[in-house]
């Protein structure tokens, strides 16, 4: 069996996920040996644009040019894997999703300056535009999780990702729940996979792995409100890494709250 042809591509993001791939020091040689890496602009110079078995895509999509490139990747790849929170959910640049006002925000930053590159739009995750077979979230991705997924894809198997929130891993690390201490922790909304790094150092989870599979946004919202946080802060923080999924839920929640208050 010939080794699978794979490619790595980066869009709007910090390239930290590709860096993490290169950082898989001990396994990097094996990875390059087990696969045929056709394109990895960050790691090598002779890249081609041929057919791929697996394309790994980092970053959110925020310009017409990127979208065109993404569609081309999709067309020539059997499997597209979103790597990193930006590609999977949109990342912090997508935190204003469902709020509108993109034009004003754009103006605020760039004024009337004429921008010669491709036209920009509100950043969105990769699967907002093309079919994505798999998501490997993380900010940046976790080496172990990434390698576990890649080895399975190479072996023709299906990767497995924890479906539960980071709270579960946090308990495995034997940390007391910082939410019960009244701190702002996004753990219950956040996908596990990081090994609960931050809470293990007594730093609340900011949600950088993106939303877990089974969210209860309104319960988290009510809890934080009860702990004394104000509505704007809560929404801002839970939308930071929540991307399209959480944005939609927050919108529904706000609508529900407004009707309730309007009805009083």
């Amino acid at each position: 069996m010939s080794s699978p042809k794979i490619g790595f591509y980066g869009f709007t993001g910090c390239a930290g996920d590709q860096l993490m791939v290169l950082n898989c020091e001990d396994q990097l040689v094996d990875l390059f040996g087990a696969t045929d890496i056709r394109s990895f602009a960050m790691a090598k110079s002779d890249n081609d644009d041929g057919e791929l078995d697996v394309a790994f895509v980092e970053g959110s999509i925020s310009t017409e040019g990127q979208l065109e490139h993404l569609k081309d990747i999709r067309k020539r790849s059997k499997v597209v894997v979103a790597i990193g929170t930006c590609a999977c959910w949109g990342g912090p640049q997508a935190m204003k999703l469902e709020e509108g006002g993109y034009e004003e925000r754009y103006k605020k930053v760039y004024g009337n300056a004429k921008i010669e590159v491709s036209k920009a739009f509100e950043a969105q995750p990769v699967d907002a535009f093309v079919k994505v077979e798999m998501k490997i979230p993380g900010c940046p991705i976790d080496k172990t999780e990434f390698l576990s997924a890649v080895t399975k894809v190479v072996a023709g198997r299906h990767p497995y990702f924890y479906s539960f929130p980071v709270c579960t891993e946090c308990k495995w690390k034997e940390n007391p729940c910082i939410l019960t201490e009244g701190k702002f922790c996004a753990g219950p909304l956040t996908k596990a996979g990081c090994g609960a790094v931050c809470p293990s150092h007594n730093i609340p989870c900011v949600g950088c792995w993106g939303p877990t599979d089974d969210l209860n946004v309104s319960a988290e919202y009510n809890l934080l409100e009860e702990k004394g946080y104000d509505a704007d802060e809560i929404i801002k923080k839970i939308k930071k890494f929540g991307g399209a999924v959480v944005a939609k839920m927050v919108k529904e929640l706000s609508a529900k709250k407004n009707t309730k208050e309007g009805g009083k």
Binding site: C170, K171, W172, E174, P176, P188, N202, N216, L223
Partner: protein, 340 residues
């Protein structure tokens, strides 16, 4: 067999016991109380009420490898577990381990649990209840069996229950530290200790009538109300000494068909838990998932074994950020109202 030991001799005793295996005990770092490997008694906090997760972590770790496999088949991974002495286990947790013993060691004996159980010495220690302790309501506040040794702190000395032959072997390492000389005063002191302990509880836990009330409340709207609050974070199940659910996943080595079959703690609070291939989910709603857990702990288990699968340790009370726990749920079902 009950022996007596001077309190100041404990340190020397544990030092000698280390010949049997690694010494583990409750340690504290801020709010984080956990069983950790220690060298001396002084590193332990014997006043700590409960560890964040129970000693089940020694008997079935959060994640471990069951098999190594290649195209020839699956090869069991056992034999790499060290001998460990757990010092400072409280009665509730010993009760919890007994419940897990029934599950893992009876029919279809689990070799991974069995090996760890075999290599773990349980040295219990009496405890001081706090406001979350509710072992009085589950009849687990004292313990008569299931440990190797149990130390009851009676101020000047320990009464040491010897619960197993191997516990006795540990005593025999330093026989000069123990005495059989138990007199009238000791009995009175012990009685006083029991009464004192029983008077310390402030929790309002009350599980009487639970099987019937659960049956009656099967369709109660209380479950939906609880589900609205529940974050499905899984903390309660990770922290519960009688939660045993696990998931299994195969890992593959890069470029081969070899790898490992790993097992990790799972929770019935997760949507994936009852999901079958094809997409049907037997417990898609959060309310159904909550109902399963509480029904299992407080109704079904009582029906089957005559006692709840709750040992009253209070960990779900301590860890749930939205106050869903055996106390609040049983109260909500009785009063048909979810408390604030």
């Amino acid at each position: 067999m009950i022996l007596k030991m001077k309190k100041e001799d404990l340190s020397a005793f544990l030092e000698s016991a280390k010949e049997w295996g690694e010494l583990w005990g409750p340690t504290r770092k801020g709010e984080r109380v956990a069983f950790e490997k220690v060298e001396t008694l002084s590193q332990m906090d014997l006043k700590a009420t409960r560890t964040i997760i129970p000693p089940k972590k020694f008997l079935y770790p959060p994640r471990f490898t069951m098999f190594d496999y290649d195209d020839k088949g699956y090869v069991e991974r056992t034999g790499d577990v060290p001998n460990r002495i757990l010092f400072g286990i409280h009665p509730c947790d010993v009760h919890g381990i007994q419940i897990m013993d029934e599950l893992f060691l009876e029919e279809y004996k689990d070799p991974y649990y069995a090996e760890r159980r075999e290599k773990t010495l349980l040295l219990g220690h009496s405890c001081i209840p706090d406001d979350k302790c509710m072992c009085f309501a589950t009849d687990t506040e004292f313990i008569a069996e299931g440990f190797d040794l149990f130390f009851t702190d009676l101020k000047m000395f320990y009464l040491v229950w010897v619960g197993s032959s191997r516990g006795h072997d540990i005593v025999r390492m330093r026989p000069e530290l123990f005495s059989r000389d138990i007199g009238k005063d000791d009995i009175m002191n012990y009685t006083e200790y029991r009464n004192w302990k029983s008077s310390q509880f402030t929790s309002k836990a009350d599980f009487t009538g639970m099987p019937d009330i659960f049956e009656l409340g099967y369709n109660s709207p209380v479950w939906e109300e609880l589900a609205e609050k529940c974050l499905s974070c899984g903390q309660c199940t990770m922290a519960c000494p009688t939660c045993n659910c696990y998931n299994v996943v195969d890992e593959v080595d890069l470029g081969t068909v070899e790898g490992t079959r790993d097992r990790f703690w799972d929770s019935c609070m997760f949507r994936e838990y009852s999901l079958v291939a094809g997409g049907h989910n037997f417990r898609d709603s959060r309310a159904d998932r909550l109902k399963l857990w509480y029904t299992h702990k407080l109704q079904a288990y009582i029906g089957e074994f005559g006692k709840p699968a709750c040992v009253g340790c209070g960990r779900c009370v301590a860890t749930c950020p939205v106050d869903i726990n055996v106390v609040s749920v049983s109260k909500a079902l009785k009063e048909q109202e979810v408390g604030k």
